[in-house]
């Protein structure tokens, strides 16, 4: 019997070549997209799960960032028995490492507690977790870094110098940190000699929020209770008049996907929203492909009425017939699955480029993944085969043996519903892609309030102010340089230097972001005052007694009347300062967040970002020349410049990439839906051959016949549009909520999506209806 099923299945596939091709290719593409997205989603969900103790590792977080003071971890561990052990990470970038005579600039350096290696499961190649980083001056390198520093030599016991000052000895080498980790480091340096590195009482610096803190928790503890206890314990270290900081703990497995609310995590994390979006896209595309298959199978069944009738007449039960169609469906799914694996293999490099991931095809070689894929295929095969099997096996043999196709006609309505559902999905995808494109353009083109073009920036140690002034003068001597300044923060960075201010006469102050700058900062960035003036060298007291605010700060502090001339009591540095100017609310951080209140004060000691404004004529030449000038004054520094506009662009790279992927999948979805539509339309038209013949004999023109054939599809498109619009509106409204500044969700976007889909449908169907309408009616009638 099975042989007979296979025989019929293959005979059908070969005889109905066009439909088989459409079914198999759309299923293959649909399955390939699903597998790709499954790879992507599994990768995103796999973050940090490779640590053996991942269930028990928690990160301590404050409301808007995950950074803590150096003493927090120990204080909490001493007071809370549910904390088994803790480890801190002090992450640093722009660190100079000297190995023999070679200097390397490292961006992924971490000073850590030795316990980190016990809590986390990093794989040691040389040395061991138990014997690393306990001693002062010890370091653990990743395999790649060890090779970079020492080539093929055994790195254990070798020494290197950090920041030209501190000597470290390599005591261990670990495998490179896997890509599915919420942080990446190349060097781990021990925190055991913090006293030497920082200061004798560094552990008592409760305002130095730069440490990531991880706890290994006992098996049983209540997360809400722990968070409440931590918040309570930490109250004693809260600045007296500041609001109580709410502390939370995050399981390590949640960090990658549930940290998007933080301003500046250790590295850019993803958001569960995007994982859900891509899961939904995968599912929708698979639905479209599945609907194509069901549509074509039921439509093609109209050519199989005799077979069904004969089988039933000669004793086939409904179950047997249903089994036959389900087996056929399984065969088609199996062939499509094999093709989809080839497609995944071929498209993975492109997908990796679009998604910014390094997914490997060999991930599929995992037995569990393969079994779940096969399981998915069987379930889909049965589901997709079930409806046709159910419908076809229900036909009365009497009706079908009369060989009238009318008995099967009721399937058309169902098929049109499926086509309608497909185009609902297509309209949703087009509308979402349009909104995302508009939002990305909105962000990229938004006037940020400062000059981002032709501004170069670099981070290195400028030495004392006199040396910096030498550099500044040397740079300004270049004809293409129009401005030079240094500061603690530049636009694109995060405003994480938080201090306090209090308006003279007010009882309470507020927490506020500080930006420590030097003269010419605003001029270099093209920022003009909206009130008062900018800092100027002409006023000697500006460096110690003046402050500039943005407009948000004026509101936030609650300054009444003209702010110019009013006095602010600042704490970083501690001083009374007169407001000399107000600047616009420039978009300093990201358009995800509302503009923060900021105070700008002159303080060279805090500045480590160099900004240079050049003339836009020869940017690359200018960059090289500036690097040379800097290098001549600071020969021991590794100096690299980046363009500010490019840094800003990178900030929204995730959205750009997501949009690109969305666009790519939207096009695929449209393509698949069109393939299905083509198949269904051709069946529909074939079934109306006689009717068209009769109409033409009675005087219908080609255009009238075309109109008649197209109108039913237009009707379904209108229904699809009505269903799709609220879905797309709701989804995009939710997505836009994550942005503080967003494009308008205009009505025309949805009309546009509907219109484009209608055009696509009409273009697809009209070719067919034209050729059907053009047929000689005599031929059509004879054929029937």
């Amino acid at each position: 019997m099975l042989k007979n099923y296979f025989k019929i299945a293959f005979a059908n596939l070969i005889q109905s070549r066009v439909y088989s091709l459409i079914s198999i290719s759309s299923l293959s593409i649909g399955l390939a997209v699903c597998i790709l997205l499954l790879l992507y989603v599994s990768h995103e969900l796999s973050y940090d799960r490779y640590h053996e103790k991942s269930d028990n590792i928690y990160r301590l977080c404050q409301e808007v960032h995950p950074y803590q003071a150096p003493g927090t971890a120990k204080y909490l561990a001493d007071n809370l028995p549910e904390i088994k052990s803790f480890a801190r990470i002090l992450p640093r970038d722009n660190i100079l490492v000297k190995v023999d005579n070679q200097i390397f600039k490292e961006d992924y350096v971490a000073w850590v507690d030795a316990e980190l290696l016990e809590i986390f499961s990093f794989e040691f190649i040389l040395g061991s977790a138990a014997n690393s980083l306990q001693q002062p001056g010890t370091a653990v390198l990743t395999e790649e870094t060890a090779r970079k520093y020492f080539g093929d030599e055994n790195p254990i016991g070798k020494m290197f110098k950090v920041s030209s000052e501190y000597d470290y000895t390599v005591v261990g080498v670990i495998k490179d940190i896997p890509q599915n980790s919420h942080f990446t480091f190349d060097l781990f340096l021990t925190l055991a000699d913090g006293n030497k590195m920082f200061s004798e009482n560094w552990m008592d610096n409760w305002g130095w929020w730069n440490f990531l803190v991880y706890f290994e928790m006992s098996d049983r503890f209540s997360k809400p209770d722990l968070e409440a206890k931590i918040t309570e314990l930490m109250k004693s270290y809260n600045v007296t008049d500041a609001p109580v900081t709410q502390f939370t703990v995050q399981n390590i497995k949640d960090i990658h996907l549930y940290s998007s609310h933080f301003l500046g995590d250790i590295q850019p994390q993803n958001s569960i929203t995007y994982v859900l979006i891509f899961s939904a896209i995968g599912l929708l595309i698979l639905l479209i492909a599945g609907f194509n298959y069901i549509n074509l199978l039921t439509a093609n069944a109209t050519t199989r009425v005799t077979e069904i009738g004969v089988r039933k007449t000669f004793g086939a039960s409904r179950t047997q017939l249903a089994m036959q169609y389900v087996s056929e469906s399984m065969i088609v799914f199996f062939i499509s699955f094999c093709i989809s694996l080839i497609l995944v293999r071929l498209s993975l490099p492109l997908f990796n480029e679009l998604s910014g991931k390094e997914l490997s095809f060999y991930f599929l070689a995992n037995v569990n993944i393969l079994m779940s894929l096969l399981g998915m295929m069987i379930v889909l095969g049965v589901l997709a085969g079930w409806y046709p099997a159910f419908v076809l096996s229900s036909y009365s043999p009497v009706k079908v043996m009369k060989s009238s196709k009318s008995g099967i006609g009721s399937g058309f309505k169902f098929r049109k519903i499926l086509v309608g559902a497909q185009f609902t999905i297509v309209i949703v995808l087009i509308a979402c892609a349009t909104v995302m494109l508009r939002q990305i353009s909105f962000i990229q083109e938004k006037e940020l309030g400062f000059d981002k073009e032709a501004v170069l920036t670099s981070i290195f140690d400028f030495g004392d102010e006199a040396k910096y002034n030498t550099l500044k003068q040397a740079l300004l001597n270049e004809s293409f340089v129009s401005g030079v300044s240094v500061a603690s923060r530049i636009p694109s960075g995060s405003l994480s230097n938080e201090g306090r201010v209090r308006l003279e006469g007010q009882a309470e102050g507020i927490a506020i972001s500080y930006v420590h700058i030097t003269f010419d900062y605003f001029r270099t960035l093209g920022i003009e005052p909206v009130q008062g003036r900018l800092f100027s060298g002409e006023f000697e007291t500006d460096a110690t007694e003046a402050v500039i605010l943005n407009e948000a700060a004026v509101k936030s502090i609650g300054i009444q009347g003209n702010p110019i001339g009013q006095t602010l009591k600042c704490n970083w540095p501690k001083s009374d300062r007169i407001i000399v100017g107000i600047i616009d609310d420039i978009y300093f951080e990201s358009l995800y967040n509302k503009v923060k209140p900021v105070v700008y004060v002159i303080d060279y000691s805090m500045a480590y970002h160099l900004i240079v404004k050049v003339k836009p004529s020869d940017l690359v030449g200018s960059k090289n020349a500036i690097t040379e000038v800097c290098q001549s004054i600071y020969p021991d520094e590794v100096i690299e410049f980046a363009f500010l506009d490019q840094i800003l662009e990178q900030r929204y790279q995730k959205e750009s990439k997501t949009f690109q992927l969305m666009g790519f999948f939207a096009v695929l979805a449209i393509f698949l839906a069109c393939m299905g539509l083509l198949g269904v339309a051709s069946f529909m038209m074939a079934s109306r051959t006689k009717e068209i013949g009769i109409r033409k004999v009675n005087g219908a023109t080609i255009s009238e016949v075309m109109q008649m054939l197209n109108i039913s599809f237009v009707r379904w498109m209108i229904i699809a549009f009505i269903i799709a619009t609220p879905i797309a509106y709701y989804g995009m409204n939710k997505w836009l909520e994550s942005f503080a500044y967003k494009t308008a969700l205009s009505w025309w976007i949805f009309v546009f999506a509907g219109f484009i889909s209608l055009v696509i449908v009409l273009l697809t169907v009209s070719g067919l209806s034209y050729s059907t309408a053009r047929r000689n009616p005599v031929e059509a009638l004879r054929y029937e």
């Binding site: 007979n4 019929i8 004969v310 409904r318 043996m401």
Partner: protein, 224 residues
């Protein structure tokens, strides 16, 4: 073997009720060859479909081999049909995608017969119908007469007790038509009961008895 009493069949649409059969009483004994004649629309095929358990009557009773089968569910009708009833159609109704051998084998597959036995039975019947040399051919490669012989082979391969033929010669020329009728007679002489719907007086002449229907009622029965 077949006994119908006051058999009625009504086809209903939203507006109209069409009476295809209005109280048909027919009795066919085992081993009989009965022809049913009548003009188009008199209910011949409807009657045959009910007798063949392809459809249920609206009213009246139908007993097959002494069992009342008037109101069986579809699955039960299928079970009864299997191996008991063979069908021959005017338009042959062969499955285009299967070759001659596979078409004939079909009823045996549903009887879950073993492979070797199936092969033996199919080859026997094909040879008997003088179509064995065409076993690997597909229906569209055969003449009408050959196709009907394949259809008859399929109808008899499971040794059914009843063969139902719906205008079996309707699509054939005279020579092939007579050949098909001879085959049906032979099968009847070997013990099969044959019930045949026909327009042709010549074909009806092969039967033992002719029942005439008009407007869904038996108007005459005569022995040939």
């Amino acid at each position: 073997m077949i006994k119908t009493e006051k058999l009625t069949k009504v086809f209903s649409t939203e507006d109209v009720e069409t009476f295809a059969l209005r109280g048909v009483d027919v009795h066919v004994r085992k081993g009989e060859f009965v022809a049913i004649m009548g003009p188009s629309g008199c209910g011949k095929s409807t009657f045959l479909n009910i007798v063949g358990l392809l459809d249920n009557p609206t009213g009246g009773t139908y007993s097959f081999n002494g069992t009342d089968v008037s109101n069986l569910k579809e699955e039960d009708r299928t079970q009864y049909r299997r191996g008991n009833i063979g069908f021959v159609f005017q338009s042959f109704n062969l499955i285009d995608k299967l070759n001659v051998y596979d078409n004939v084998e079909l009823p045996l597959l549903y009887l879950k017969m073993k492979g070797a036995e199936r092969k033996k039975r199919v080859n026997e019947v094909l040879n008997r119908m003088k179509i064995g040399h065409r076993a690997k051919h597909f229906p569209q490669q055969l003449s009408g007469g050959q196709q009907q012989r394949v259809a008859i082979s399929r109808a008899v391969v499971a040794n059914p007790v009843l063969i139902l033929a719906d205008e079996p010669t309707g699509n054939l020329d005279t020579k092939n038509g007579i050949e098909v009728m001879n085959l049906l007679s032979e099968l009847n002489q070997e013990g099969a009961t044959v019930l045949m719907v026909t327009h042709s007086a010549r074909d009806a002449g092969f039967a033992h008895r002719t029942i005439n229907l008009l407007d869904g009622q038996v108007i005459r029965e005569n022995q040939n």
